[in-house]
Symmetry: C2
Subunit: 285 residues, 2 copies
């Protein structure tokens, strides 16, 4: 496995590489969710590239950029074990010169939900993803459905800017008790770790309500709110039943709907989401 | 010469084309300035592609989108005469679906000068140029120095987003009396046409002042203002002596400086610019 930090080195590697590239962009702190993306990339039949970059652009001023876990050696070992051929691990200075001035600004779905609470976040995500796509020129790029809004923003920008890349959204990987894997879960102490499952339980409660005939968006949202309210350690940021691409709230939910939820547990920002109707086949779309 | 309007047709043509592409993006209403860009493209040794698209995104609400000249047949004849191999002439609907939501937002130099007077203009320019670059995948793209700020914004975004394209800035083509060629010059009646040369004369006056030892930015700006003030038909929007890349005003000008000027003549928005020191060799850089 090669590890490179310079843009020029990746460009050269890309020019010499005649097989198609399967790309898994990450911020490191790899967990089983990332590993599942790498496995999916491996199965593409192309060469497997991973990027490892904690992108300062997508962190707000009061967010956890400095604290974000960076177990570099462990990440590289996990990547090697997963069959990664090349890791692109640039520094911020490699990608953002002091006079950097060109951003990719997603509107529409990016202005809702996480976009409201974290101004500039999706601009940062869209900008870095576009840059990594243009440097690595992959045929496929793999993202987790765990960050569902991010996935939709990226799908949209790939279509809008006519990037010739197939975006593959892969299932959320969960702990045995249902908690969605996230690099931020390490911030949770034992007590908070127990409470963190409340988001996932709220999503399940809404699914169950829908199965018993509740289909008004407001009622499903109420179900989620009431579930989260049961745990005093958790505070809800938003719960929503949305159209799966535009992420606009649905007044009357149907089988296409997506459930989104976000909250704080012991000061840690957590998000989760599910299709309103369980996918029969849990497979990458 | 092929003329195509569908993105899928250009993509297919690009995939089949093994020579490098020299691209000249235009909004049509071709004049000798565009023809000089096409000639320069022709000389690259690649295949010559031109885009012809009046981009609604870069026009403000009160601007001349609907009135913008679109002599389509004449444009296509001129392109064919100039040796263009393929014209990509999409409709707005081809490029901007109703749920289009991803913009390229240039900051820095794009926030100054034209960017102040025309909010959203450079966002529109940066977005369409990026889209055309990603569809056509040229090795070179040719732009006139006439739109100097646009040229610098595009150079910057190509660097920032790591587009693998060489941007070639080509000299402004002028009428015998010095007026910079522009598709908007046709809006000028006979009287206004005479006054329109005032911008160019103001630039020349600043150059002359610099040659005689005036180097304070403010003094050079005053020279330009005073020149424009002599013609009551013209109103100045801005005159500036700027650093050639950042476009920030220079307190003390040196040989690297660029002069920028914009004004209205009989309701028509005109811009012009020159290097403070005449280029010895008028050649494409």
């Amino acid at each position: 496995m090669r590890v490179v930090s310079q843009v020029s080195s990746v460009r050269k590697a890309r020019t010499l590489e005649h097989r198609p590239v399967a790309l898994v962009p990450t911020m490191g702190a790899l967990h089983a969710g990332h590993i599942s993306l790498l496995q999916r990339g491996r199965e593409s039949g192309g060469v497997l590239w991973m990027t490892l970059f904690v992108n300062p652009l997508q962190f707000g001023a009061n967010e956890d950029l400095d604290a974000y876990p960076q177990p570099r050696d462990r990440d590289l070992q996990l990547a090697a074990d997963a069959g990664v051929d090349l890791v692109f691990a640039p520094t911020a200075a490699n990608l953002y010169p002091p006079d950097f001035a060109s951003y990719v600004e997603p509107t529409g779905a990016a202005r809702l939900w996480e976009g409201k609470g974290r101004p500039g976040h999706f601009r940062g995500v869209a900008t870095i993803v576009t840059i990594l796509f243009l440097i690595c020129r992959p045929r496929w790029a793999f993202f987790g459905q765990k960050d569902y809004q991010q996935l939709q923003v990226i799908r949209r920008l790939v279509r809008d800017l006519h990037l010739d890349i197939q975006i593959v959204g892969c299932p959320t990987i969960r702990e045995p008790d249902g908690l969605a894997l996230s690099s931020r879960n390490i911030y949770l102490d034992r007590r908070a770790r127990q409470s963190a499952t409340i988001l996932q339980r709220a999503l399940q409660a809404a699914r169950m309500a829908y199965q018993t005939g509740v289909s008004r968006g407001d009622d499903l949202v109420t179900t989620m709110c009431e579930t989260v309210a049961k745990d005093p350690a958790a505070s809800l940021e938003y719960a929503a039943v949305v159209e799966p691409e535009s992420l606009q709230p649905m007044q009357d939910a149907d089988d296409s709907a997506r459930l989104l939820i976000a909250g704080h547990v012991a000061g840690v920002h957590l998000i989760d989401n599910m299709a309103l109707v369980p996918e029969r086949l849990v497979s990458c779309r």
